[in-house]
Amino acid sequence: MSTILECKGLSHSYGQKKALDDISFTLESGRITGIFGPNGSGKTTLIKMLAGMIHDDKNAVTICGYPVGAGTRAVVSYSPDRVMYKADKQISDIMDSYEIMFDDFDKNAARQFLDEFGLDEKQHVGELSKGSAAKLQIILTMSRKASLYLLDEPFSGIDPVAAESIIRIMLKSIPDDSSLILTTHQISQVEQIIDEAMFIKDGRLILHEPVEDMRDKNGKSLTDAYLEEFR
């Protein structure tokens, strides 16, 4: 067990608007964490900063001990909240690109998943339904053997059956020592797969606890706790 991610006093503003306000937390290896909060609370900004896409000039975040940069990006696998592949690209094409960019990309594992979920390498992204495209994105993201997975709204606009598939892909692929952070509005769907929950409100971290503790102490589900907090 080691610390995969350490975040100390992370803040970020878009111009005058403060998106993240002094966020601090630690994430151990082998943990799955869910980040919950209303739209605009700063979840996506936080994820993007952990992914190294937004510049963190105070080095508030370290991943595996290193400040966020090209090195951490090599061990972090990020999936954005929308399907970000161009419609005219073939799946095989995208996989070739992943192979070039990421040493830890396991093409065979990806192929197996594509097979299992009825996706054909020769298909173009534009031909896929929304659910299939989302599955594709998760498959490719999880086929990297990364230390930290960041999934931003993996279930957005996805039907429950596809969501089950995505959860299955996640649980099957995640290496033992790796950690995963996901953001979602589908709290009840992920409650049983996460170790810890974080609530973000107006850019501030207002809760960070193991889910089982919350059930133990309060006798209520995560969904109930969320509704109480954010109603």
Binding site: Y14, K17, K48, H55, G71, R73, P80, M84, D96, M101
Partner: protein, 276 residues
Amino acid sequence: MNRLDRLEIKETKKIMLLLITLVAAYNLLAVLCSVLSNISASDAPFIMKVILMMISALGVVCAAVIMIARFYGILFTDEGLMRFSYPVEKNAHLKTNVKCGLMWLFAMITIIVAGLVISDAVTKREVEDWGAGNLYRNLAEHYAGNYLSAPSAKALLTVIICLIALAVFVINIYISFIFTLTMSSRICGKYNILQKKGVIFITGIVMFNIHLITVEVMSRIGAAFYANYDWLDLFERDGVFVELIDRSLANIIVYGITAIVMYRISKTILDKKLDI
């Protein structure tokens, strides 16, 4: 060649090789027209040749537009922004785009220059005597006519330095576009402006005007300096040689330094200040 370069080439290979093929084809046809113009009495082949060369030059413009548009995509579209999650430094995207962009551009420019030289060499008509392709030959003759020592070597030197000046100029233009995009991105990020295309447009106009002024200033200074060749008699007996070399060197220095400055600034912006 690093990963990002390989990816960039893989993604641009198809369209660029197509453009290169077209440029080469048009140049080939232009050479054929030159040959034809030797045989035919009419001016048509010659006119055809000029048109073909102009169309092939469009290929270079297309390639530049495509590569610059790719950079726009990286900075301003969501799909492009994803590239910043790659395991490379942020400024690597700048480096790769400039490297690959210039590579494709110069591949095409080389073909066009070769086309010019070959077609002019092949033509026997008077009208081609001072064509760009004949620059070397004409300079050599001119220098020899003015009793310069080693006229062929000096002609070669002149041509080489002129070509380098042209190359530096092309590099400067390309980097100017890239610089415009990074500057616009920085401005939009810092002042939280949502009208990104507006900012790009305005920055572009500013850059364009700076360029016009620079070209004009350089041109006038050069012209004034070399308006009178008399004082050159002290050094060499040919004003054209000195002028071409000096002005080319001046261009190389001015455009070269500004290109480097624009590149360094873009690099810094990407590394530190770019907010997504």
